[in-house]
Amino acid sequence: MLEIRWHGRGGQGAVTAAKVLAKAIVKAGKYVQAFPEYGPERRGAPVKAFDRIDDKPIVIHSQVYEPDVVVVIDPTLVTAVNVTEGLKNGGVVIVNWQDDVDKLKKLLGRDDIQLWTVDASRIAMDELGREITNMPMLAAVVKALEVVELDVVKEAAREFGIPKIEANLKAMDRAYEEVSKR
C-alpha cells in the first residue's frame, strides 16, 4: 500500500488534488481512499489531505501516520510545519519550490529521502494567473510516483469539474515536464 500526505493551505485545493488522484486511480483499476484532515476550515491555514493506493481493497480506516510520500503544494509550509513528520525511511518528498534546492534539503533535514521539486507557483501564475498549485502539483506527483498515466489524471480532473480546466491541463503538462529529481 502507498500512503500519500498532502500539505497545503486552506483554499489551495490540496483536498481536491487528493480526490482527483483517487478518481484517476479507480479509472486505472486500483483501489484507493482519499480523505482530508478535518479541522475548522480556515482559508490560508495549513491543511492536510491523504491518499491510500493499493492493488487490493483497502479496509484500514485509521489516519495516516507514516506516509510513503509527502507532497507540499505551498513552499511556505516547509518552514511552517514539520512536513517530513513520520515519513518512512527512503520516502518521497515532492515540493513546490523555486528557491535554491540545497537550501530546501537543509530545511527538510533528511538525507534518506527522494526529493523532487517543481516551480508550480510560477507555472500556476503563467497559466492560471493565480497561485493555485494543486493541479500542477498533482501532475508532478504522477511523474514521480508512476502510479497512473497523466492522461487518466487529466480526464479525472475534467470530470471532477476543476475550474479553468484548459489552463489547468496546460499547467499539468508543464509541471509533468518540469518536475525533476534532486
Binding site: 483517487a22 484507493v32 481512499q33 482519499a34 480523505f35 478535518y38 483497502i58 484500514i60 480506516h61 501516520y65
Partner: protein, 386 residues
C-alpha cells in the same frame, strides 16, 4: 461500474436510484452533504421525488411520518444533534409501523461542540423501535440503504442505516455502483397496506390509546421486532445472489479457530481486519465479529460465534453510568443468556474514538492483548489522556 466517491455521495446515489416518493430533510448543519447532493438530483429532474426542506429535524421526521402514513415511499437523512432533535417523532414513526428509511451519519453529540464521529447519536435512538443497520464503508452504506427499503416495507418497521461521520462519510472510497434498473427491480413497487388518503377504506392513525389497549399495541412491537431478523437475512441473501455481495446479521471474520475475537461496528471494523491480517500472518489466532444489525439484536446468533472465546468489545459511545458501552452490555447479556461464563468467555470492554479521536492499529492490538489475558469485566478507554 466502479467509481471513487465519498460515503455521503454513495448514500445520495442510493437515494437517487431508490427514487423515493417523498424526502423531507433539514438542509443545514448538522445535515451532511447527502441532502445537498440529493437536492441536485431533484433540481436536475433525475428523480421523481417530492423534496421538502423543513425548519428542523423534528419537522423532517414529522413530514415523512405524514407522507408514509399516506402510503408514500419515504426517506430522510440526518446526523448527530439532528437525530437527537428527531427523538420524539422517532418513536411515533416506529410505533405507527411506518417503513421510513433514514440514512444516519454517526457523529458526536454536544457538549462540547464536536462535529466528528462517534455513535452517541444512533445509540441514543436504539430503544425507539427502529431497525438499526451499521456500515463499515461507503459500499456497505450504499448496499444497506438499497436493502433497507425492502427490509422496512416487509418487516414494517422504519430502518436507519448508519455510517461513520467523516471517516467514511467524507472520505473518497471505491464504490461498485449498480445500474438504476437493477436497483428498481430489486426494491420493486411499494404497495402500502394502508393509506390515510384511501377514503374508501378509512383508517385511524395515532389516536389516544390509554391503559385499555396501549400495552397490546406495544406488545405487537415487542413480538414483531425480533422477526425482522429473518427479513434482514432473506434480503441480504437475495442481494448477494443478485449482485455478488452477500449480507447477514453480522460479519464473522476469521472467527472459527480464533482464541480472541474483537467485536466492533462500522469503520473501525475495517481497521481491525487489517490488524487481524497482520497478527494472523504471525500465527496469532484472532478474529473479528462486526455486528451489522444492532436492532433487533441477533443475541443468540452472536453468542454462538463468541462462546468459548476471549472477547474484546469496542464501543464508540457510552451509556453514562452503565457497566460498559451499549454494544458491550448487549454482548455480555447475549453471552449470559447463552450460558457462557466469565471463565469460558471473558469479556473486556473498551470505549474508543469519542468525538472523532482516531483509533489506531496499535490501540486495537492493545485491546487484543488485554482480552488475551482473559480479564473479564475489564473496562478501559483507548487512546485518551489520563
Amino acid at each position: 461500474m466502479r467509481v471513487a466517491i465519498t460515503g455521503n455521495d454513495a448514500a445520495a446515489l442510493a437515494m437517487k436510484q431508490i427514487n423515493p416518493d417523498v424526502v423531507a430533510a433539514y438542509p443545514i448543519t448538522p445535515q451532511t452533504q447527502i441532502v445537498q447532493t440529493f437536492s441536485q438530483y431533484v433540481h436536475n429532474g433525475e428523480v421523481d421525488t417530492v423534496f421538502v426542506t423543513v425548519e428542523s429535524e423534528h419537522s423532517a421526521m414529522s413530514a415523512v411520518v405524514g407522507a408514509a402514513a399516506s402510503g408514500a415511499r419515504t426517506m430522510t437523512a440526518t446526523s448527530a444533534n439532528g437525530l437527537a432533535l428527531m427523538w420524539e417523532i422517532l418513536y411515533i414513526a416506529a410505533s405507527l409501523r411506518l417503513p421510513i428509511v433514514m440514512t444516519v451519519v454517526n457523529r458526536a453529540l454536544s457538549a462540547p461542540i464536536n462535529i466528528h464521529c462517534d455513535h452517541s447519536d444512533s445509540m441514543g435512538a436504539r430503544d425507539s423501535g427502529w431497525i438499526q443497520i451499521y456500515s463499515e464503508s461507503a459500499q456497505e452504506t450504499y448496499d444497506n440503504l438499497i436493502q433497507a427499503v425492502r427490509i422496512a416495507e416487509e418487516a414494517r418497521f422504519p430502518v436507519m442505516v448508519c455510517q461513520d461521520g467523516f471517516i467514511t462519510s467524507h472520505s473518497v472510497e471505491v464504490l461498485d455502483v449498480l445500474e438504476d434498473k437493477e436497483v428498481r427491480e430489486f426494491i420493486g413497487e411499494y404497495k402500502p397496506a394502508y393509506s390515510i388518503l384511501d377514503v374508501d377504506n378509512p383508517i385511524t392513525v395515532g389516536p389516544l390509546d390509554l391503559f385499555d389497549y396501549y400495552f397490546e399495541h406495544k406488545a405487537q412491537q415487542i413480538v414483531d421486532m425480533p422477526k425482522a431478523k429473518d427479513v434482514v437475512l432473506k434480503i441480504g441473501e437475495e442481494f448477494g445472489k443478485k449482485f455478488g455481495r452477500k449480507y447477514g446479521l453480522f460479519e464473522a471474520y476469521m472467527t472459527d479457530d480464533a482464541e480472541v475475537v474483537v467485536v466492533v461496528m462500522n469503520s473501525a471494523a475495517g481497521t481491525t481486519k487489517a490488524v487481524i491480517d497482520e497478527l494472523r500472518s504471525k500465527g496469532e489466532k484472532v478474529g473479528l465479529l462486526k455486528p451489522r444489525l444492532f436492532r433487533p439484536f441477533p443475541a443468540a446468533e452472536i453468542a454462538e460465534i463468541l462462546k468459548g472465546k476471549k472477547v474484546a468489545v469496542l464501543d464508540r459511545a457510552m451509556s453514562f453510568g452503565a457497566q460498559a458501552g451499549p454494544l458491550s452490555i448487549e454482548i455480555q447479556s447475549a453471552l449470559y443468556l447463552a450460558g457462557a461464563t466469565a471463565s469460558d468467555t471473558p469479556v473486556s470492554s473498551f470505549i474508543y474514538g469519542l468525538g472523532g479521536r482516531d483509533i489506531t492499529t496499535d490501540n486495537i492490538k492493545h485491546a487484543i492483548d488485554v482480552a488475551k489475558e482473559g480479564r473479564h469485566g475489564h473496562f478501559e478507554m483507548l487512546n485518551v489522556r489520563e
